[in-house]
Symmetry: C2
């Protein structure tokens, strides 16, 4: 079994969740080895919450699970892309389709997407 190089940055690699159909980037989170193995075994995107220091099955509380269709690994083995199907169409705990719902314009952030739901626990 090949695995990402978890030794480089304190045991974590960044994981980019991308909508498998549209290509939209939904979020960036982190995986440790436990999260990686849990993702492969369950096909549900599972991260390591760096704020809670705990395994984080995305959507376990909100219902907004991410079904993993495909996993890509970069040339240095230290970043991954999860091509996923986002249940409910909302990846962001603030109720947006994507966590990247703000664009830099003239040095400030401008919201460029509609809020689809009230903020939740994610």
């Amino acid at each position: 079994m090949q695995e990402p190089d978890f030794g480089k940055r304190g045991g974590l690699v960044p994981a980019v969740a991308q909508d498998a159909e549209t290509g939209q980037i939904l979020m960036v989170a982190y995986m440790n080895r436990e999260a990686w193995r849990h993702t492969l075994a369950t096909r549900r995107a599972t991260y390591w919450s760096t704020s809670r220091n705990a395994l984080w099955v995305k959507g376990e509380t909100s219902g907004h699970l991410q079904h993993v269709r495909e996993i890509l690994v970069d040339c240095d083995d230290d970043a991954v892309v999860l091509r996923i199907e986002q249940v409910g169409g909302v990846a962001c705990h603030e109720g947006y389709a994507s966590c990247f719902h703000r664009r830099v314009e003239d040095g400030t952030w401008r919201v460029i997407a509609p809020r689809l739901e009230p903020p939740s626990a994610g």
Copy 2:
């Protein structure tokens, strides 16, 4: 001027370079404040090389510059997406269009894209 929260992870935030036309994810690198400001000022994707500990204007040596069309910031201010135009169509120093040219299949990596150029210094 708003800026990402560089205080969270030792001064760095992950930056995802995405082809502005096709939506393909090309690479994941890191930015510190200097790289961020250089990117905004020049509209050329500029990262912080964590291996060389130096500012890294992507493509400065290879010619494979990334012209930044749009910058998105996530809900936590600690990850960014650069929507870019990749000069030469090759983002990966190994000569592939994308650094994410390998897919996880049955626990091993399989190359899923053609090598377009010999490996370079990136």
